[in-house]
């Protein structure tokens, strides 16, 4: 099976063709917004990071920003730095450019302030937009596709309808040579034995237990129950009783394949097939990590109704129940609630999701794109100093 995508210089294939204006640090965010406002069709990705971060966080922020720039959905990147921040904007730009992609850098303190940087940035962004507009989609195999699978605002139906159906779609994509990244380590707690059984080898098996233990210990070292943050109040109201119940439903999204590799947050996979990435249960942070790892499309199941999207990728929303689907139709792409009512099988909805993924890869806009949802959040490990 094939789809129409944008082949990039590094042979990776995008399903979108964005020009992004990326700040290396929070202080450059408004300049990025101003450039994007003046060049319609470009996207600014403001964020609150990039400075006063300890080395492990500075490294994670850099890795994420580089990964977002290198994501094949992005045609060209303008990186705006301030000049005195921890996360070095010129390093980020050159790492992105290593992929052969058009990437440029402006540093506010060197250019001489906000208005001058906006003026120069607008000129560069216009050139980038003109370049991107000349690129054409071409026919490529489905093995170029990385689908991130995510759940947010889960309810007790998530594990009975949308997640197992997404699991069917995951298996179908892997059969075509594609890649699935399953994440949200917090929501593997209590289900890690199921994942570990499917590890391709002993070192992957060990790493699965390691990332789950690390996440559980991180909460416990603060002397707190994870249950204070996850499951969320809406999860409980939707019928989820414990973290284990949420986790057992959550891991079904990846399907039944062997787990080939375990990635750190925002790391790009070296393998194909089913991959695990260590991200938190926080949806925007998790999706941002997936995209920095090269995911082109996200399939996102929700029971309570989460409308979030992403600045650079289509996010396909799958409702776990028909009450939600009819209530929030404008945010939902697929209704898996028909499984609960018995009108459709898990297999049927799974195939429907798979075909929707291909349609979206070909250019069909998702509801989150149509509504302009651009949520973006980089996971951080420690506090600011």
């Amino acid at each position: 099976m094939k789809f129409l995508g944008y082949r990039r210089p590094d042979e990776k294939v995008g399903v979108r063709n964005h020009v992004i204006i990326l700040p290396s640090v929070v202080c450059a965010s408004e300049v990025c917004n101003a450039i994007a406002r003046n060049v319609k069709g470009t996207i600014a990705i403001p964020h609150p990071h990039g400075c006063a971060q300890l080395p492990f966080d500075a490294e994670q922020t850099s890795r994420t920003l580089i990964g977002i720039g290198k994501n094949p959905n992005v045609a060209a990147v303008l990186v705006i730095g301030l000049g005195c921040e921890v996360v070095d904007s010129s390093m980020i730009t050159s790492k992105i450019a290593e992929s052969g992609k058009l990437a440029k850098n402006l540093i506010i303190q060197e250019v001489g302030g906000s208005p001058k940087t906006v003026k120069q940035g607008v000129k560069i962004a216009k050139e980038m937009l003109s370049y991107a507009s000349r690129l054409r989609r071409e026919k490529v195999n489905l093995d170029s596709l990385i689908l991130g699978v995510e759940c947010g605002g889960s309810d007790a139906c998530s594990g009975l309808s949308a997640n197992p159906a997404l699991g069917v779609a995951s298996d179908l994509l892997i059969k075509e040579g594609g890649t699935i990244i399953l994440s949200e380590t917090t929501e593997s707690i209590g289900a890690e034995h199921i994942l570990a059984k499917r590890a391709i080898n002993r070192s992957v098996r060990k790493k699965i237990f390691e990332i789950v233990k690390r996440t559980e210990m991180r909460a416990l070292s603060l002397g707190l129950d994870i249950g204070k943050a996850n499951p969320a109040p809406g999860n409980y109201a939707g019928g989820i009783t414990t973290l284990e119940e949420k986790s057992l439903g959550c891991v079904m999204k990846g399907g039944t394949g062997k787990i080939m590799e375990v990635l750190e947050y925002a790391e790009a996979p070296a393998q194909k097939g089913l991959i695990l990435m260590d991200t938190p249960g926080h949806d925007a942070e998790s999706v941002t990590g997936l995209l920095a790892g090269g995911t082109q499309i996200v399939a996102f199941t929700t029971g309570r109704g989460n409308p979030m999207g992403s600045p650079i990728a289509p996010v396909i929303k799958i409702a776990t129940n028909s009450f939600l689907y009819s209530k929030m139709k404008d945010d939902m792409d697929i209704n898996a609630g028909e499984i609960i009512t018995g009108n459709k099988s898990i297999q049927e909805i799974g195939e429907k999701i798979f075909h929707e993924v291909i349609r979206v890869a070909n250019g069909k806009l998702t509801k989150s794109e149509i509504w302009g949802h651009r949520e973006f959040a980089i996971n951080r490990i420690g506090p600011s100093f």
């Binding site: 309810d155 007790a156 139906c157 594990g159 009975l160 917090t186 707690i189 209590g190 289900a191 890690e192 199921i194 237990f209 789950v212 233990k213 559980e216 210990m217 909460a219 416990l220 002397g223 707190l224 129950d225 994870i226 249950g227 996850n230 409980y236 939707g238 019928g239 009783t241 414990t242 973290l243 284990e244 119940e245 057992l248 439903g249 029971g303 129940n321 009450f323 609960i340 009512t341 018995g342």
Partner: protein, 101 residues
């Protein structure tokens, strides 16, 4: 008292499960009937997506969904009762958890 076929009203995700998930809001006193003739009286209103005990779950024994342990009964739960945070406790990610990793 209204009698309903159990498969119409709830989803049992695995044969080992001792709880099932409500497909619709279920009124108290509804009689859920099984194919073998067994009946369970619903003891309280069960909201859509919430769980109902299909068997007696003694205090401290596991609550099973998806064929897996999702927590521990903190008191004995009778068949037909709502199974949720008032009578079940998760065992993972707890500050007093003995059961890590």
């Amino acid at each position: 008292m209204k009698s309903e076929d159990v498969d119409r009203m709830v989803i049992l995700s695995h044969p080992k499960d001792n709880v099932a998930t409500a497909k619709f809001p279920i009124k108290a006193e509804t009689l859920l009937t099984f194919s073998d003739g067994k009946k369970i009286e619903v003891r309280e209103e069960i909201r859509f997506g919430h769980k109902i005990a299909l068997r007696k779950i003694p205090k401290d024994s596991p609550v099973i969904k998806y064929g897996e342990r999702i927590g521990r009964a903190i008191r004995t739960i009778e068949p037909g009762e709502l199974v949720h945070i008032h009578n079940v406790e998760g065992e993972r990610g707890k500050s007093k958890s003995k059961n890590i990793g």
